[in-house]
Symmetry: D2
Subunit: 344 residues, 4 copies
Amino acid sequence: MNTFGRIFRVSMLGESHGECVGALIDGVPAGIPISPDSLLPDLARRKSGAKGTTTRKEADVPRIMSGVFKGKTTGAPILMLIDNKDIDSGKYEALKNTPRPGHADMAVWQKFSGFADYRGGGHFSGRLTAALVCAGSVARRMLAESGVKVEAAVVEIGGAAGDKAIGEALDAAIQAGDSLGGIVECRASGVPAGLGEPFFDSAESLIAHAAFSIPAIKGIEFGAGFAGARMRGSECNDAILDESGRTATNNAGGINGGITNGNELVFRVAVKPTASIAKEGKTVDLETGKSVPITVSGRHDACVALRVPVVLEAVAAIVLADLMIIEQRIPRVEKAAVKKDKAG
Amino acid sequence: MNTFGRIFRVSMLGESHGECVGALIDGVPAGIPISPDSLLPDLARRKSGAKGTTTRKEADVPRIMSGVFKGKTTGAPILMLIDNKDIDSGKYEALKNTPRPGHADMAVWQKFSGFADYRGGGHFSGRLTAALVCAGSVARRMLAESGVKVEAAVVEIGGAAGDKAIGEALDAAIQAGDSLGGIVECRASGVPAGLGEPFFDSAESLIAHAAFSIPAIKGIEFGAGFAGARMRGSECNDAILDESGRTATNNAGGINGGITNGNELVFRVAVKPTASIAKEGKTVDLETGKSVPITVSGRHDACVALRVPVVLEAVAAIVLADLMIIEQRIPRVEKAAVKKDKAG
Amino acid sequence: MNTFGRIFRVSMLGESHGECVGALIDGVPAGIPISPDSLLPDLARRKSGAKGTTTRKEADVPRIMSGVFKGKTTGAPILMLIDNKDIDSGKYEALKNTPRPGHADMAVWQKFSGFADYRGGGHFSGRLTAALVCAGSVARRMLAESGVKVEAAVVEIGGAAGDKAIGEALDAAIQAGDSLGGIVECRASGVPAGLGEPFFDSAESLIAHAAFSIPAIKGIEFGAGFAGARMRGSECNDAILDESGRTATNNAGGINGGITNGNELVFRVAVKPTASIAKEGKTVDLETGKSVPITVSGRHDACVALRVPVVLEAVAAIVLADLMIIEQRIPRVEKAAVKKDKAG
Amino acid sequence: MNTFGRIFRVSMLGESHGECVGALIDGVPAGIPISPDSLLPDLARRKSGAKGTTTRKEADVPRIMSGVFKGKTTGAPILMLIDNKDIDSGKYEALKNTPRPGHADMAVWQKFSGFADYRGGGHFSGRLTAALVCAGSVARRMLAESGVKVEAAVVEIGGAAGDKAIGEALDAAIQAGDSLGGIVECRASGVPAGLGEPFFDSAESLIAHAAFSIPAIKGIEFGAGFAGARMRGSECNDAILDESGRTATNNAGGINGGITNGNELVFRVAVKPTASIAKEGKTVDLETGKSVPITVSGRHDACVALRVPVVLEAVAAIVLADLMIIEQRIPRVEKAAVKKDKAG
C-alpha cells in the first residue's frame, strides 16, 4: 500500500508522465519551518545532468499544498507536489505492447490487466523518488534538532571504486549503449540507542522495507552484512567499551537485536543496472504473442545508482524520524519554535 | 510493533526462559485443517541436535488455544503456544550486568531501562522463531492449495560450500570455542504474477521486513542481488520469453518493480555468526562501569544459520499468504473444505 | 491519523482557507471509469445555497492529479484536489486570540501550541467534507457494480420533522441569529451478509469511526439504537424468516455481532447545531487571559445537518467498499471493464 | 481485524466454550507493576451473580504468559489468558442449525460457511469482554500515573432509572422469561486537552470504534449527543471560562473537533436487551430451510447492560492510554519505577 510509517507517515502518489508526483506526509510535529525553498538542496542533489544520468530536465520546484501556515508546519497533513513538465511520452506509445525487460512493465500489466499508466513506467518510475526526497527533507529537519545526521555516498559503480575508475567504467558503458549498477552506502550519526520496536519493526526491518521501495534496489546489508556471514563470532562480535554502549568495531552497523545501540548506523544497498538500454534485448509482443527484439531509446540514466544517495538518505531519515517520535525523542510540537515564538 | 501483515496477520509473544513463546494469527481463512500434529514437521526441521546446534532440547509440541474447532480453522484468531521446559536460567543471572557482545543485551537494557527479561535474550531470543515456524506452517498450508511452494537451504557456512567443507569448517570453529555465520537461500515456486502493493509494500519490502525480524539476519538480496550491482544492464536484464512473463534468466529473482513476475522467487540472507561464544570477548560491567572480559558458556548453536532455513521459509510463506489474500487468490473460506463438507 | 481503511484507504488533507482540500485514495480497483465530471453530482448535493446554508460559494470542481489514465483508474493512488477560491479570511485574524465556543479552536490551540491554521477552522473545517464526498463517490461507484446502494436523508431539524415544520424552525433560528442541529439517517440496500471483521472491526465500529470524523457529529445509533435499549428482548429480537437471513423486523439495523446480516443497513447520526452564531457567547482572550463576549459574523450554515446526508453516504460507502474488498466481493480489477476492453 | 490501537495495541482471542479467552497487549511501557492479582478487582466487577446476570460461574483468574518479569512489565508483549472452566456446551449442539434471533449466529454462519465455533456464540460471545477488562486494567494503571480516571455506571435499565425502579423492571422481565436493555454512561476525569488525531482518529472515532466491539452495544453519544441535535447553538455551545479551556457547561462531552478540550469526557452507550430469552421466538432451520420456533434456555444475563460498566471503562481506558502515549504524555518507560529501582 502507498503509506509507510506509524506516527510520521508518508503516502506516495503520481506517475512519471502524469500531472505530478507527490507525497502526503502526516504526523509532522507542529512548528517546524518548511518552505519549497528548504526542499531544494536535497532535490538538487537528486537531479540529473551529470555524466551517466538522464537528459530529462525538470525544474523540480515543489509546491506545498497544505499543512504549512506562516512558514511553519501546523500539525496537519502536508501535501507536497512536484509537477511533471519535461514530458516526452511519444515513444512510450510504441512500447505499450512490448514490455521492457528488467522493468516492471510486464508484472504491472498482469497485475492491473492493462489499465496501468505505461508511460515512462507510470507509478513505478524512479521519478517518484523526487517526492520521497521531499518527505526525506522534512524528516531530516526533524532529526537535525536532535543531532541525528544521515549521509549516503556511492561506493562502487559497475564493480569500480574511486572517481577515476568509476568515470572510465561509465564511459565504456555509455559507449556500448549499456548501463551499470552500483553500491551505495548510508551512514547515520547521532542515532540514540533504543530505536526499533520488536518483534517485527526492528530498525533493520523498517529501513529495508523503505529502501526496497526505491526502484532498482535489489539488496541491502547492515554493518558487516554478507561479509559478516563469512566471519567467525570472535571476529564479528563488537567489543563493548563503556556504559554508553560504544563498541570497538561496528560489524553490527549500529543495530543489535533490531534495536539501535548508539553507534553509527551503517548500511549498503545494491542498485541494479538501469533496465533501459540502447542495446538490443528480447521481449514478447502482447498483441501477437510473438517474441520480438527491443531497444529502449528514451532518456535514461546510464547508471541510476548515481542518483540514489539522496534518496537513500531520505528513506533512512523517514524511518529514523518515525522511530524517534515513537521513542518520544522528537516532541509533537517543536520546542525551539515554541520558545522562539514566545520570546518574539 | 509485534504484528505483521495486512489481512493475514501474525502477532508474536514470549521469552526464551519465560512460560512460553507463541504466535497469535488472524485473518486465516475458515475451513483449513490445522492441528498441533500438522505443525510438527516444520518444528522438527527447526530443532537442534545436529552438529553445530545447541544442546537445549525442547519437546516443542505446540498447543492451539483458539480459532480451531472440530479440527478446522473457524476464521477467528488462532493462538499457538509452545511451552518452555528445558530452561536453565542460572547462568544468566551472572550475565545480568555484563551485556554480551554481539547480542541485543546492551541495546535492550538502554531501551527498557533495565526492565527487560534478560534470561537467554528474553523476547529477543532465537527461541521465538519456533512460534514463527508455527505461523509459517499455517501460511504454507494456505499457499499449498494454490500451488505455491516455499523451500530454503543453507548455501554457505563460514564461507564454505558443500557438506564436506561445511562440516570441516564447523569442526574447526567448535574446537576453537568460536562460531560461524552463513548464507541461506529461499526459493518459492508457483508464485503468480501480480503480488506486491506499490508504493511501499513491494514484494521485496515485505519479505525483507519480515526476514530482518529473524535474529542474526544482517543482509538480504533478491535474484542477482549484490552481484547484479556489478553487472551491465544487457547482462542483468532478463529476456521475456512469452505472454506469461517467463524469462530466460532470473536475475530479478522473480520480482520487477516490487511486483512478482510469475518466475521463481529467489532471495538469500546473510546470517551472522552466533554471538555467544566460549572465546573471551570484552564488555562493560553496568554496575561498576568498568571494562571486563566475558565468555558465554551457555548452550548455544555454533552456527545458527543451520537452523534458519525453515524459519526463512516461514516468513516468506507468511508474506506470500498475505499478498495472495490481498490479491484475492486465496479465498476467505477454503473452497475445498466447503465442498468436502457439503459432500460429506 | 489522516488515513482510514485497510485495502481501500482514504487519506485526507487541506484547510478551509488554504490552497485546497483533498483526498488521496489507495486500493481502488483498476479499470473503473472516473472523471472530475463523475464526481460533480455528489458534490452538488453537498453544496450550500439552500435556506439554512452558508453563502460561501465554491465552484467545487475537483482535479484528479494521479491514478487515472485514459479515463479509468489504474490501480495507483488517486489524488483528488478541490481548490479553495471564495476565501474571505479577514475576519479570522480578529478571532485568532478568541477561540470560538463550540468549535475546535481552543482544543487545537492547545494541541498544536498555536501553530495550527486558525482561518475558518483550518484543517478542522467542514470544508474538508468536500474531499470526503469525492472519495465517497469513488466508493459508491465500486459498490454499484455489486448492487449496493447507500442513501441518507435528514429526518429531524431542531426537533422538527417534515418539510413545513423544519422550514419554520429554520426561519425562527435564522431570525434569532441562532443555529439548529438535526438527525440524519442513512440506509444501505443490497449489502451482503458477512461484512465486518471481528474482534475490533465490526461493521458498526468502522462506520462509527468514519462517521465521527465528520465535524459536528456527536452521536450514532444502529437499527433501534437508543430506543432499543428501552425494549424487551422479545420485542427487540428480529425473527429470522428464511435461510438468507431475512428478518421480520430490523431492530438490528442489518448488523448482528458486528457482522452484516443481509438485511438493510440502517443508522442515524446526531448533528449538533452549528457552533458559529451571531448571538453573543462567552470566551477567553488568549493574550490577556480575560473573559470576553464573542459573536461569530462569518458566513455559516444555520444548520449544518442539512448538508450532512451526502457526507454520511460517503463515509458509509467508504467503509462498505473496503469491507467488500476484504470479503473479496469487489475484485481488484473491475471485471466489466476488462470484458468491455477485450470486446472493444 | 483482531487488533486495536497504534502504539498501545490490544489483540483479542478466544471463544466462549473453547480453552480460554485472552488479550495480547503490545506497547505497554516497561516498569509497570502488573500481576494476576492486580487484574482481579476489575474482573470481579464484571462477574455475574447479581440479579439479572447469568449463573455461569467462572473463577476468572487470569494467567500472565509473557511480558512481565519480576512483577513488572518488560516492554515486550503481554499475553493474558483466562481459562474457560464452567462450560456446559450440551445445549448448543441442539441450537447448531437454528440460529438464535438477535444473535450473531446467522451472520457468522454465512460469513464463515459454517466453520465457526457456534458453542455459546464462540468468538462472538460476551465472554471475550473478560479479556478486554484485563487489557483495560493495564491501560487504567498507565493512566492513573498521569491522573486520568475512568468511571462508568448504569443510568437506565429497560427505560427505568434509580435502583428501585430498575429492580422492579428486572423482576418483571425475569418473570416473563424476557430480557432488558439499558444505557451506561462513562466519564473520564483528568484528561488533558489535545488528545485525538485528525482527520480520522478523532477521540470520538476511536472511543466509538472500540465501544462497538463490545457485544450488544447499538448506539453511542458524546456530551449532549442526540439531545444536542434538538438544541439551538446558543444553548449547545459551551462558554469558555479561562485559558485552560474550562467551560461553563459540557454539552461537548469534553471533545471539540475530535480533540479533547480538557473538560470531563462524557459519553453514553445504548445496550440492547439480551438476545437469549426463554420466550419463544422465530428462526429458520438451516438443514430443512423451514421456519421453526425457538426458545433459548441456556444460562444468560437477563440484562447484559448490568455488566457493561467495567467493560466500557476498559475500552475508554484503552483508547485514552494509546492517545496519551501518542501525545507523549505517558513515557515509554515508567519514570516512577525507574526512580524507585535506582533508589532501591
